[in-house]
């Protein structure tokens, strides 16, 4: 691998993570398309590289969330049982699923992400005063409180419909292992629709969980030799530096313009991934 390619990789990782950081989005969703489309990297190799960067970003950004009590550590470990099981399934399918299917799946994830970005997320948390039937999940004591600066007091929230949330999380783990992404695309409906968590809690907790989910598949890929250490190393360091920069610039940029830019980029990459899928299935040369 020549130095130009490494510098290009570093720039890509830095840029996508900085942009992702500004919108509170993981950069994993951009790394695989950019590596395959512009870098002509094999999609399975790109997934391995992306997984390491996903772990790096998750670990690197966890501390501030933990210190401000936004991460629900107990809920995270419960949901991780589902995401790691999904990742286990993904590891077993990774070499069986054809390259075409991987491209198609990725295109679908990009399109759904664009759609999710288009429809603004409302805060799904209900008032704590609302009556609710006691459930078996109460025994896990997942409900917690977080300090809300706007209100100037602690807000107590409840975790709801845990089994449905776990099902979504299994899917998120599967997608993570197959596509090398953080699977925000499935975690957002899991956290909002099923568990009904406040957005701050769901962002912090899902970010915290990503590292464990990604490590569950990255371990096997690394031992199998599916992860190119040079590429993964450059991208991981670039992503960590990029996400730190992204968080710094966050306050200065209009997030509305950024959102539109992101939607356009997601759609363009999705279209190109769809074309790649068709191109490979017609041309029939698998790498």
């Amino acid at each position: 691998m020549d130095l130009h390619f490494e510098i290009w990789l570093f720039a890509v990782a830095l840029g996508t993570s900085a942009l992702g950081g500004m919108l509170g989005m993981a950069s994993g969703i951009f790394i695989v398309p950019v590596l395959t489309i512009f870098g002509h990297v094999d999609i399975r190799a790109a997934v391995g590289v992306s997984l390491i960067s996903v772990i790096a970003c998750s670990c690197g950004s966890a501390a501030p969330f933990l210190r401000s009590r936004l991460t629900n550590v107990r809920l995270a470990v419960v949901l991780e049982a589902a995401t790691t099981l999904g990742a286990l399934s993904g590891v077993l399918l990774f070499n069986i699923v054809s390259v075409t299917v991987l491209y198609l799946l990725f295109a679908a994830v990009l399109f759904v992400s664009a759609q999710q970005m288009l429809s603004r997320r409302g805060d799904p948390a209900t008032d704590v005063g609302e009556a609710r039937a006691p459930s078996w999940t109460d025994a896990l004591q997942l409900d917690a409180a977080y300090p809300d600066q706007a209100l100037g007091r602690d807000v107590v929230y409840r975790v709801q419909r845990l089994p449905l949330g776990m099902l979504f999380m299994y899917g998120a783990g599967l997608l993570s292992a197959l596509l090398g992404i953080g699977s925000g695309v499935l975690k957002i409906p899991a956290m909002d629709t099923a568990l009904r968590l406040p957005i701050k809690i769901s962002s912090a907790t899902s970010n915290f969980m990503i590292s464990v989910t990604a490590a569950a598949s990255a371990g096997a890929y690394f031992l199998r030799g599916n992860i190119d250490p040079l590429m993964a190393g450059v991208v991981a360091v670039g992503s960590v530096v990029g996400s730190i920069l992204g968080a710094r610039i966050l306050m200065r940029v209009s997030s509305e313009k950024l959102r539109i830019l992101f939607i356009v980029v997601l759609l363009l990459l999705g279209a190109q991934m769809l074309l790649s899928a068709l191109g490979i299935s017609i041309g029939g040369h698998h790498s």
């Binding site: 790096a56 501390a63 933990l66 210190r67 590891v91 409840r158 096997a220 450059v234 360091v237």
Partner: protein, 105 residues
């Protein structure tokens, strides 16, 4: 009733995990950067880069182990079990993943 039990140990765990993940990420990044610089200067940096990448994969495992120990000290055995289950699933994914690929090719 809704507040989690053992508020203080919980805060302690959160601080410990924050420090582990923060310094762990920094250490792995430094190792990878050293390896890359060695590589560009013509030395064999591959091993150092590999160590950095392995550190990134092990960091979430260490995070789970820390959580498991904290739950154990709080005598929260239900969560000790859940944490152990997650670690076991990760281990199985790793072993099956390696075995499976050996048979697949």
């Amino acid at each position: 009733m809704s507040a989690p039990p053992n508020e203080t140990p919980q805060r302690g765990l959160e601080r410990l995990l924050a420090a582990l993940l923060h310094y762990g990420t920094a250490a792995a990044c430094v190792a990878i950067s050293i390896g890359l610089v060695m590589q560009w200067r013509g030395a064999h940096g591959q091993g150092v880069i590999n160590a950095g990448i392995a550190a990134f994969i092990i960091l979430p495992v260490l995070r789970l182990i820390c959580m498991g120990i904290a739950f154990l000290r709080a005598r929260d055995f239900r969560f000790v079990f859940i944490t152990a289950l997650v670690l076991a699933i990760m281990a199985v994914a790793c072993v099956l993943g390696v075995l499976f690929s050996a048979h697949g090719h």
